[in-house]
Symmetry: C2
Subunit: 495 residues, 2 copies
């Protein structure tokens, strides 16, 4: 066997272990009885360790080097080798002892965070957060960086991202966003009370499954189950699993389903010939999030979409019958400065992210002491959103990320929002009257365009390359700002 | 680390891979979309290969030998080492090339068998069956045996079993069974037409789940799903999965559920401290089957059981309301000489097995040429059951086993039938009026007795030892014969 063939066998083994761990994780969330929890944790840890051992063995790195010399640099194989080389470098630069310490500390930190949030007791969380930040710093030093320690970490989640890059992205947004939110806050609020009710679970399930089929999520290559938190996972290109949950707020299941379906259709869109190889899947967190946001916000919160599906929604939930399209449309697009990121609308959402970005940069570089985090958090909320959390539980204790050591992750959410509009505008330029397509339920040309421009490329190109190929320019906030300004000026009657 | 500790880590890794493969297999049957099939097959093959490689590595054998010298021979660890030593010997005696050839041939044979059964074309199946028999012979030679080549294979499924042992078991049964079936055939047949109907799936589901709870299957440590073929699998002692299916024949789901629950409660009954070790689980196929048969036939087809649950069944399926207990009881115990093993009642069932046992012994030793199998099969059916299959599809092509290379497996089904009565009689001797317990739905003392005498011992003792410990004597047909003779004489009014 050539070095390339040997490497492919090795990577297929790693793929099998990772896929198995994903199946176990999916089942853990969806079906596992409580009695299975302890053994499941042990089983997943073994699979994870084996995958790590096989992938980070020196044989992998050597095979990559040898194979590189043997392949055409423009070939798919060469692109695959680049992906593996990057992953290998990231995984081998950090000493195993540090990875182990981080995992152990993160497990403790998670428990302490859960209790601290419940008890609104930041002081109880501060020492272990301090330790997690210190371990993140050590990780960053091992990974290396050119300009700022934050760069090493954020690159883990979004290849090529840097503190400076994110600052440029956010820089153009802050002022117009704060101004827009302020104008909206000064306008009469829209009504969304009709979205709350005792919606039967089976009706929510059948309606969301109908939507999945309509937009083109392939149910022969995936399915939807129920879990406490919505997520998308996949075991192969032909097996993509979505989860949703059923709440008394109707958009929770409906918009959640469209969001996860966006992730899922991206995964389903890789070429089948790449199945079980490192080229399959999404290229980065930010690009992935752009697709969940596209289907959730740009499609799923649009007026043409609901001109078609509101009548069906009324059939499913007859108490909604009196609603007109305009009222419904405004209700699902209600904007409100609020305290909790995960409940934020698409206008205020990025402000929540900017706050976290600025604070985690400061924590990483040491300019913000952990003990001062609550005060800094509250001050930022006042500055960006004009509101102050009454408790730390509703403030700096709300997110799970930092307790897990995820520093540098948050900006990818904002990137998803921006990029969704940037890509969509190119789609509209190519396809023409996309609103009419949506109003007729003709999603195939839309999905096909996204597959052609984004999904089918998997991980073959770097995120920045892919964005440039798909949109003809680098990532920027302009399309997003223009898009939401138009949309919400109309909804709130701004001049 | 001591040799024992090193071995335990190794075995825990193997356990994780096996458990993961089981989860993947369960999901494949219960939830996987069709698009996931190809990758799933590859993933399971990788896990299987890794588990095999780790388990059969020379380090395992060496660690077992070293550890044996270090442990108290009466300890649990010593018993665990015995189990591992046996499995290791069985897995390492057969050359990897033969295992691979058998797997490859079995995969082809399965496809050919499916087509041949459909087309009623034994001649198309004969050549590959010949090859599977030859490979089974080679396997037996590698495993070694003292008296008969069949011994090496049947020991794989039932430790300590031999052709002679099975002959002794069957020897005492054939004449009385054939006579009993003949008497029953000459008596007026009971009616079971009321068991066929358009039973709503959700009602079948809720009724069978109610039964699971009632008899003591722990739903915090297991669950029931739907699959094309009913089975029981487990990923740990705390996570035992049953499946059932919903047909127009009501006992299909009801009795199938009780059958699988018997397997499941056996698995749940291992001491929790043995979780993820080789000591957990059932000791052999025959002992396992005895427990599924106990809950399906002895409990689930008894009059006291239905004196309690028939009213509940009528509530769930109101069309059954006119039925009296006696008619229902007779209906679910209908005996009929029939052609298909998997649909056979508990009286005729063993005759189907004896036919297969005699034929597979003859094929293994070469006294029956493969081409003569259909004629031999039909002749045995005439002799044992008084009927002759009109086609080979209803005859020697009906079972999947031989196409998979499973020779020596069938007798464990009969062993389960016999042993279920043998163990039950001891239970009755200890607990007294067990009929009254069942009629009151008091299954806890019954389950507790089975746990105490059988389930909690996992794989700690050899099957023959366990049977002797639990029943005070070796396996024999007397209890079964006496039990069914009594029961069916009453049902069919025999003198």
């Amino acid at each position: 066997m050539s070095a390339l063939e040997q490497l492919k066998v090795r990577l297929a083994d790693v793929n099998a272990l990772n896929a198995a761990e994903s199946v176990l994780g999916w089942d853990q969330q969806c079906y596992m009885p409580s009695g299975g929890a302890e053994a499941r944790g042990e089983h997943m840890a073994v699979l994870s360790r084996m995958a790590h051992e096989i992938f980070t063995a020196s044989e992998t790195g050597e095979a990559v080097e040898k194979a590189k010399a043997q392949v055409d640099p423009e070939s798919e194989d060469a692109a695959m080798l680049d992906v593996v080389a990057r992953d290998y470098a990231l995984r081998t630069k950090i000493p195993a002892s540090l990875v182990a310490e981080q995992a152990k500390t993160a497990a403790q930190a998670h428990e302490i965070w859960v209790a601290a949030r419940k008890a609104n007791d930041f002081a109880a969380f501060a020492p272990i957060l301090e330790k997690m930040v210190e371990l993140a710093r050590q990780t960053a030093e091992h990974l290396g960086y050119k300009e700022h320690i934050y760069d090493a970490l954020t690159d883990l989640y979004e290849e090529g991202a840097t503190k400076k890059g994110w600052e440029q992205m956010f820089g153009g947004m802050k002022e117009p966003l704060v101004a827009l939110v302020s104008k909206i806050s000064a306008s009469p609020q829209v009504d969304d009370s009709f979205l709350y009710g005792d919606w039967p679970e089976s009706s929510q399930r059948s309606f969301t499954e109908m939507l999945l089929k309509e937009i083109g999520f392939d149910l022969n290559r995936g399915r939807q189950d129920t879990a406490p938190h919505p997520f998308c996972t996949n075991f192969s290109i032909g097996d993509v699993r979505l989860t949703t949950r059923f709440k008394n707020y109707l958009p929770s299941a409906v918009m959640g389903t469209l969001h996860e379906a966006g992730h899922g259709m991206y995964e389903q869109g890789s070429p089948l010939s790449w199945d079980r190889t490192p080229l399959a899947g999404g290229v980065s967190l930010g690009v992935h999030e752009s697709q969940s946001r596209t289907w959730e916000n740009i499609v799923g919160r649009s007026k043409p979409f609901w001109s078609l599906y509101l009548p069906k929604l009324k059939e499913t939930f007859p108490t909604l019958s009196p609603l007109d399209l305009e009222t419904f449309y405004k209700g699902i697009n209600k904007v409100e400065a609020s305290l909790i990121r995960v409940e934020a609308d698409e206008v205020t959402y990025n402000l929540h992210i900017m706050i976290r970005f600025e604070l985690e940069c400061a924590m990483m570089e040491g300019s913000l002491a952990i003990k001062d985090l609550p005060a800094a958090w509250n001050e930022k909320y006042r500055e960006f959103l004009g509101i102050v959390p009454p408790t730390d539980s509703d403030g700096c204790l709300q997110d799970v990320h930092w307790s897990s050591g995820l520093m540098g992750y948050f900006p990818t959410y904002s990137m998803g929002n921006l990029l969704s509009y940037q890509i969509w505008n190119c789609l509209v330029a190519d396809l023409g009257d996309v609103d009419s397509l949506m109003a007729k339920g003709e999603f195939k040309p839309i999905l096909d365009w996204l597959i052609e421009k984004v999904y089918r490329h998997g991980r073959r190109y770097k995120p920045a390359e892919l964005i440039h190929m798909a949109t003809g320019k680098p990532l920027g906030p302009e399309d997003y700002l223009a898009g939401i300004t138009d949309k919400y000026s109309a909804i709130y009657g701004l001049n």
